[in-house]
């Protein structure tokens, strides 16, 4: 049965990569081409079932759902990438300084991170969105702030582990500046844990963006967002169930792919940990 286990690891990696590369290709294509105009309303064609000219059917304004799903990948990736960027940059800075410097700096930084983590994620997201206002960038900033503490904790424990190792001591002795020691010497050694955490952040950011957009507080129309599409589709659940399948399926498949990839990365990069 060991084989089955090794097999699932590989399956995780392959499916995860396929899903993400697939969605990335769709996103790139959507910049140049969508089968129909994303925002063109066509009332006589509204709520058409899947098939014919409309692969996934049409919405309540007669817009092509497939084209909107394609365009929605741009929103999903934009929010996901920006969130991960904010979360990792600030997470590494805060966790790195806390772990490397130690003492009261560590105490202040990490207690603040603990407090941020004490908020249930969606509550903090809602509060930040209430302050920043809706929109793609604001949503990503809010979600990025929420992502900081988890990455800061991982970075901190990595820096604490490496801080007293011989190569750091050697670098110090030949007079390498603290900044270089932290980011040129220590950071590459802990990058694998951070990459795994970033993949998970990417997935949770997409789920959170969908949730905020569903609540009407995230991405605003006319930007197509899968969460927003789900909200709109709820009114037509009985008459046009296909409307809800496309965005719901897109989110689920992409998030599942990211989870599988992060599991596989964890297994391959850190052979000691068992999934």
């Amino acid at each position: 049965m060991k084989q089955l286990q090794r097999y699932t690891k590989k399956i995780n990696l392959i499916i995860g990569l396929l899903v993400i590369v697939g969605f990335l290709l769709v996103m790139i294509v959507s910049f140049f081409y969508t089968p129909h105009d994303v925002n063109a309303m066509n009332i006589p064609e509204k709520l058409r079932g899947p098939g014919g000219a409309y692969m996934f059917g049409t919405d309540e304004f007669g817009r092509d759902i497939f084209s909107r799903i394609m365009k929605g990948t741009q929103t999903a990736f934009a929010v996901g990438l920006l969130t991960v960027a904010i979360g990792t940059v600030f997470g590494i800075l805060i966790g790195g300084i806390a772990g490397y410097v130690g003492g009261w700096v560590d105490e202040i930084f990490m207690r603040t991170m603990d407090a941020l983590m004490a908020f249930p994620g969606i509550i903090l997201a809602l509060m930040l969105v209430a302050v920043f206002g809706p929109g793609i960038t604001n949503t990503a900033i809010a979600l990025g702030i929420i992502a900081i503490p988890a990455i800061a904790r991982i970075a901190r424990s990595g820096f604490v582990q490496q801080r007293d190792s011989e190569y750091v001591l050697a670098a110090k002795l030949i007079g390498v500046k603290p900044y270089s020691i932290m980011f040129r010497h220590i950071l590459p050694n802990i990058s694998s844990q951070i990459i795994v955490a970033a993949t998970v952040t990417f997935a949770t950011a997409m789920l959170a963006e969908a949730a905020l957009s569903y609540l009407g507080l995230g991405v605003q129309p006319p930007n197509p967002s899968w969460g927003r599409m789900l909200k709109d589709s709820q009114a037509y659940l009985i008459g046009a169930p296909w409307y809800t399948y496309a965005p719901g399926g897109a989110i689920t498949i992409l998030v599942l792919g990211l989870y599988m990839l992060s599991n596989a990365l964890r297994d391959f990069m850190d052979p000691r940990s068992k999934s």
Binding site: M1, L126, V129
Partner: protein
């Protein structure tokens, strides 16, 4: 005792920091909050009145101290939109959210515990691997979409279920259940997926310990090994996860209340945000977060009672 004392100090610092963040975030609002609330056409006297009513004309630290006092005494000021005390609004909505969260927790426990035990006993067999795969899908589905699917495939198929609104327990138990079961399932499914994994790992960790080998070699039946020894010992790590799940469940109610139009605290929060009713937003955020922090505190203390080794750390 030292452990509990340290935990209490940590609890107080966390709540203090949470309050500073909740208070501070609203200070970085671009522009004048009063103007944002009243709109651009508000007349100057109205603006002045609201400003002194909210205490915005006083120094920041005084505002914070006042707000904290209110928090401790339960007087959180008035909602702008509803012109009612925040406290009353919260208490009106609390029963809905509490019943939803309670029902969800029960569902999570009665499904994930047996499922985790089952998977652990059949480690790496096909049923275990497929359960792990299914639970991974359960974690990837957005909860609000799951709710819509439950409405479509269960709510609309069986006349028992109401797919929107709420019937209080005091009015009819069946009625309350008919409005709460589907939303509770919606929140529960992803949490079952998470908890299942923890239960499975916790049991697998126990099974490889020496004492299990000893009692097995003494000839104890597999049933007794599982229920009398392994399960008891694996409850300790499971309890910690339980605290985390409580937090997720409370957060889950916020979105799912929107899907099923349940008049709970989540719906109140969304209304408050849409209306830019900031005192109400602050109050709700603070109370929910403190509730979650308290739950985790209680779990930690229980943990140290159950497992004395923790106190020595």
């Amino acid at each position: 005792m030292m452990y509990i004392l340290r935990r209490i100090i940590l609890l107080i610092t966390t709540i203090l920091l949470v309050s500073i963040i909740t208070f501070g975030v609203f200070q970085i609002l671009p522009g004048d909050p009063v103007r944002t609330m009243l709109g651009t056409e508000a007349d100057p006297t109205q603006i002045e009145n609201l400003r002194s009513e909210l205490g915005l004309d006083r120094p920041l630290y005084e505002q914070y101290v006042d707000w904290m006092k209110g928090l401790l005494t339960g007087q959180l000021g008035n909602s702008i939109r509803f012109s009612m005390p925040v406290k009353e609004l919260l208490f009106d909505r609390l029963p809905v959210t509490m019943s939803l969260a309670g029902l969800t927790l029960i569902i999570v426990l009665i499904i994930s515990l047996p499922l985790g035990m089952f998977a652990a006993r059949r480690q790496n067999k096909l049923s275990d691997v497929s359960l792990s795969t299914v639970t991974q899908i359960g974690m990837a589905v957005p909860s609000f979409w799951l709710g819509m699917m439950l409405i479509l495939y269960i709510g609309l198929q069986f006349s028992f279920f109401k797919i929107s609104g709420y019937i209080p327990w005091t009015q009819s138990v069946a009625g309350a259940l008919s409005t709460l079961i589907l939303p509770a399932l919606t929140i529960a499914i992803p949490q079952i997926a998470v908890n299942f994994r923890y239960v499975r790992t916790a049991i697998l960790e126990q099974v490889q310990l020496d004492y299990v080998r000893t009692i097995r070699s003494k000839g104890m039946s597999e049933q007794n090994v599982m229920y009398k020894h392994v399960l008891k010992n694996s409850m300790i790590p499971i309890l910690t996860v339980f605290g985390l799940i409580m937090a997720e469940v409370v957060a889950g109610t916020i979105i799912v209340e929107q899907v099923f139009s349940l008049p709970g605290i989540g719906q109140l929060l969304i209304t408050a945000i849409s209306n830019r009713d900031f005192p109400l937003v602050q109050g709700i955020v603070m109370y929910i977060t403190v509730a979650v922090v308290m739950i985790n505190f209680i779990v930690d203390v229980l943990y140290s009672v159950l497992d004395p080794r923790i106190r020595l750390r």
